[in-house]
Structure formats: structure tokens, C-alpha cells
Subunit: 428 residues, 2 copies
Amino acid sequence: MQSYQQMSKEELCKIKEGLEKEYAKFQGMGLSLNMARGKPSAEQLDLTMPMLDTINSSSELVAEDGTDCRNYGGVDGLPEAKKLIADMVGSTPEHVIVYGNSSLNIMYDTVSRSFTHGVMGNTPWCKLDKVKFLCPVPGYDRHFGVTEYFGVEMVNVPMTAEGPDMDLVEKLVSEDESIKGIWCVPKYSNPQGVVYSDETVRRFAALKPAAKDFRIYWDNAYAVHHLFEDDQAEILDIITECEKAGNPDMVYEFCSTSKISFPGSGVAAVVTSEANVADIKKQMTNQTIGHDKINQLRHVRYFKNKDGIMQQMMKQAAIIRPKFELMLKKFDEELKGLEIGTWIEPKGGYFIGFDALEGCAKAIVAKCGEAGVAMTPAGAPFPYHNDPKDSVIRIAPTFPTLDELETATEIFILCVKLVSIDKILENK
Amino acid sequence: MQSYQQMSKEELCKIKEGLEKEYAKFQGMGLSLNMARGKPSAEQLDLTMPMLDTINSSSELVAEDGTDCRNYGGVDGLPEAKKLIADMVGSTPEHVIVYGNSSLNIMYDTVSRSFTHGVMGNTPWCKLDKVKFLCPVPGYDRHFGVTEYFGVEMVNVPMTAEGPDMDLVEKLVSEDESIKGIWCVPKYSNPQGVVYSDETVRRFAALKPAAKDFRIYWDNAYAVHHLFEDDQAEILDIITECEKAGNPDMVYEFCSTSKISFPGSGVAAVVTSEANVADIKKQMTNQTIGHDKINQLRHVRYFKNKDGIMQQMMKQAAIIRPKFELMLKKFDEELKGLEIGTWIEPKGGYFIGFDALEGCAKAIVAKCGEAGVAMTPAGAPFPYHNDPKDSVIRIAPTFPTLDELETATEIFILCVKLVSIDKILENK
């Protein structure tokens, strides 16, 4: 296809006319489609329904260590739940604390505890004048939401195809003691689907932070969320790499089964050094008598082991993959060569990150909305909802049905074209 | 029975000799009995097993408002879960936020949020030189644990048969701006089983605190935990009373189904003014995408309504009541008139508070331990684990079987007698 950038004003205006007619047709349809959040579809949720039968009124609800799972106790999780989680992320049980249903809640607690009590004996952040976090961008809006809520100053770090710009990360972290953390989604990143290279992971593990209480917030949200059976990304185990590099306590890894079993009723965990585990437990023993152990048992008995999880994920992939493929195929057919946007073909995760022409993201999202397609607000993948170039759009293709997605994709492409033409015309 | 206090040294020594023989017999039995924590017994937990059948793989997991309970969302709880909780504590759904499985976790979050973000726009407590909480004593050790963890200065307020000493509460709260809260268990208090009188509740509602961000932490943990069908305490609804008194925002009420369904897998909630609800939701939207809605649904479908809860509680009472009765009967038979201890006969809740002679609690608990009966550590019902008179012992009779409890009670009584005789002899 010929690039829009090289077309004359007249050519563009003519194309625009045709596109506007198509757009008007969609507008007249009163659609209500949603590509805003990384939510599993109902069909995916159906996959997990049998888990609800693994525990019933005749079940013996006793854990490996003899714990009656119905009663109080077990603040850090059942041994078998720790093992399942450890296997899932490639670690070992002594590094794991199993929580309730939300890894976001663990991340929130981790930041909150650092503010009120400090990290491993260091000054509580609430006593400091300034606390900063590095934020690889584009990234996950809810990460930035947590640090924004606590008044943390967020510093953008650009993403590359191999992960965050490590030259910049190394420089900033080693120079500035007020930098206390960095938000990472190391595998199938939100929203671009980037997989951190081995070199990136090793450079993370070898960081020499100025702050003794600097921690990597390693949100391994998509550890097993592959789209393909035969093309699965693996990343190095950050816990092991940090040990090797002499920085055993520098990372908190987070994960959950939210997009494996049920988003609202899964099991979440933190995976970290034994010294960090001990530090965290000091808080936990004051915070709760224990999380839901019956639900932990439900997951263990249903999935049994990592193989069970991987089988489930391949069933999930069979539902999700066609959606990604449909969308990416249409992008290829309709957008390639026009020079009005770029994207990475993800091999896993829940999103496609679309990079529009500068200054177009907000307008595209708004135009989609006017035709009944809800998108993640432009700016959301950036701290303070501020995309400096106004170019990134996060697309979440999993929730709609395949039919809905087809329509939504057509509308999205139309909006990208229309807004881009206007932008190009401005400069002609 | 003749009071030990009025016996001669010789009489006491003779009694002691007999008691020591009995004690030695128990010591030789290698017992391991536990009256330390307010845990339901296995028999009680069995009552709730059918709840696990209310949801299975064929269930439609859609809430009243159309929410697919399996997916993300619903940060403040399902409408039907709010209603169930509201009915249980005598409030209305707009006052309720349903959380996960632990009311202690909600209380922790409430204190933590006050430290990091302040209460409704007031200065965050972490920016203040001094934060104090009033602690009616004896009280619940885990309450004091939360405030101790945050470095809050805890001020003892004595309990009376009608609740905390309200003259003192009113005085302190109106004079001292650094007093930001008070821990209350208004019904069947932990550990004494005291029920706050209507006058006490009204005086709470009418407090004129010096601190604008003063809040009553109203832990209605035993709202429906009656021991008797025909003798059930009711307390006034603190939310309504605070509204009437022009202090609508002054209270956070906490509750859970931990001792109704399963301690580890229940549903917990905060009940408070709509303005507080809005303030809390600002935190929650950054903290989590939502708590376990399937478990909320499980509770709603199993209990259906308050009647369902009350039926369950009468089944619980049928198991617990004989334990309280056995213990209280033995206390009556063996201790009444000896003037070596007092207790209140509770009509509900999970504990008996035993008031020993001054300076005896630690020794009694230690002596119980040496005979294989684990008690809550002496001092635990006080801030900083410090019982100024060393006299209060919290007894938790629910967890052991009736047989175990009988032996444990005999040993406890023996230890009370032995330690008390030594104490009296000291002063002869």
C-alpha cells in the first residue's frame, strides 16, 4: 500500500471521504464494544468451571502439613500452594508467600509498607522528602496508579524491543538515592508484549543502586500466558540472577492465577528472597490471620502441578489466539505501508500496543468511542496519564467475541486512518 | 466455700499439698490441650460444609446486577453481599463495602491508610509527631497489635459491665487532639463478653473529639454470636446513633463471617457513612480490582438472608454452649466463694475473661502450660502485652472437644488455686 505520508492533499481528501462514509455507517449501528481492559472472555472463564467441583461438602480440607484449611492460620500460604506458584514462575517454595486473590493488592501493600515501615530496617519512605520510581513506558496503568496514589515521583524510561532502556536504568538507579523502585512486566509486557532478553534480566540483577532499599517490582503477570504452543518465550529467573549477582534481596516478583483460573477468585503471591520473606511476614502477622486456604487448596487440587497449569493455558490460548490473529491480520492488510502506525506482534499476554502518529492517540480513542468502541483511555499506559507524544494506544482484544472483535477492529482501523489523515493534512 | 483469703497459713498449706498431688497427676499425663485462641472447633466447621455445594461447575455465577462474578471488577462487593452484611449488623447496604476474608485486614488497611493518606482530607498520621488510640482493657490482642505495629501510643481505658469507662473516654477524646481512635468490641467483648449498654453506645455517638479525624473502630465481631436462643443481646446501631448525634462519619464498623462460615474463607466488611465509603473507595480503586466475588456469592446463596445466618448461629451455639456451661459450672463449683478470681458469665462471643488475684495471671498461665494446657499469654489482652495488675486471663473454650475442655478446665482451676495460695501466703 502506498504511504499516506507520500500522498497529495487531494488524494488524502478523497480517501477520507470514503472512510467517513464507512465510519458513519458504523456510527449508525449503535454498537457497544469493549477493548478497554485485559479481561478474559466468558468463554475463557468457562474453562475453569470444573475447578469449582474439586472441592465440595465431602472433601477433606486438610493440607499436606495437617492444617485444617477451613480454620484460621497459615499466614504465608499452604505448602502445596507455595510449590505450585514456585513451579509456575520457575522458583522454589521458600521464596513464596501466597496471598489472597489480587497481586495488585500485594504490590499496593508492598509500597504501603515501605512508606509506613521502610524496607528491611531502612527509613520509612513517608519520612523522606522525595521518593521516585522508574516507570518503563508504555506500561501498566494500575502500577502507575499505586505509586501516584502514594505521591511517588514517576520517571519515564523508554521501552525497547528487549525491555527497558537499561543504559538509562543503570545510570539513574546508580546516581539517585531517591529512586526506590522500578515497575517491570518482564514477559509479554503490558501493553506491548515485549519479552525481556536474558541480557536485560542480567543487567537488572546486576544493578548497583544508590539506595539500599531499592527494589525491582517484577510483575510476572503473564508468566505462562503464551499464545502459541510451539513458540513460548522464557525469561531468566530474576531471583536466581539476583542471587548470582550478589543482590539477593533486590527484587519482589509478583504473580497470580487471575488470568489462569478466575480473575476475581484466583490466588496471588509474592516471590522473593528469604530475607525479604521474613521482612514481609513481620507486617503480615499484624495484618491478617491468613488468606483463603480453601481457595488455595481448590487451585492445587484442580491444577495439580505446572503441567496442569500449562494445559489450561493452552486451552486459554486456543480461545485468545484467533482474536490476536484476526486483529493482527487486519492491521497487516489495512495499515501496513501506510506509515500511520506501528505495533509489535505479541507471542503472549493480553495486549497489543499500537503506536500511532504523534498527537493522534487521544483523537483515535475518542473517535472509536463515538462509534461505540471503548478503548483504554489514551495516556493510560503512562505515569500521570500523560503520553508525551500522545501516540500510544493499548488494545485489549480478549474480552469481545470474535465477531465483535472483527467489527471493533474495523472501526479502530477506520479511526486510525481518519485521524492520521487529518494530522497529515495539518502539515501539508 | 470458705474464702482462701480468710484461711490460716496452716489451712492453706494443707490444701496446697492436696492440690499439688492432683497437679502432678495431670503433669504426668503428657497432655496437649489448647484454650489459647478463639478458634471454632472442627465440629463447628463441619456445619458449613454444605456451603461448598452451593456453587459448582453448573452454577450460574451472575450477580443481581448482572456482574459475572468470575471476572474482574466489583471493588466494593456484590449488591446482594452488601445486603446480607447490612442485615446481619442492622444497617443498610449503602453503608457497606465488602472485602476479602479478613476483617483484621480491613482494620489494618484503615489504620495504614490513615497513616499514609489521612482521614477524609486531614493530615496523614505519618506527618504527625504523636498518634494515640484509646484501648478499652482487657481487649483484643490483635487490635493492639495493629496499632503497636504503627507506633501508635495506646492509652488504657478500663472496661465496666456496660462497656468502656465513658467518663474517661469523653474526657480524653475531647481534650487530646492526638487521640485518633478507639478500639471497641461492642457486643460480647473479647475477652469478657461485655455488651455495651444503650447509654454507652449513645455516649459514643455523641463524643465531641478534639481531633476532626477521630474515628471509633467498632469491631462488631460477634454481632450474631449468641450462646442462647432466648437470651440474645442487642446493641443499638452505632451508624444510626452517630447520624442522630450529628457525627455521621465518626465510626468505622467492622464485621465478618469468619466465625459464622469458615474462619479462613469467610467474607469481611466495613460498615460506615457514605462519605467514609467514598473516602475508602479512593484507596481501594488503587489497591485492588476487586475481592473474591464467587465467595461472596457462595455466602449469599448458602445463607440467603439474616434468618439463614441466625439458624446457622443457633447450630453453632448448640456446639459451643455446652463448653461454656461446663466451664462456668466448674468455676461456680470450684472457685465461687474462694475470693481468688472473678468472671462474667458471657451470653455470647468466644471467650471468658478471668480476673485472677493481682500478680497471678502470668504464673497461672505458666503453670497451665507446664501441665500441657496452652492459654493465651497473660498480658495479651492489654496494649504492649502489659497487664498492669497481672490479673487478666483470656480463656477460649471453643476449640477443644468437650472432653478435652473438661480436663483443661480442671487443670486451669487447679493452677488458679495453687498460684493464688502462694500469693496469699506471701502476704500472711
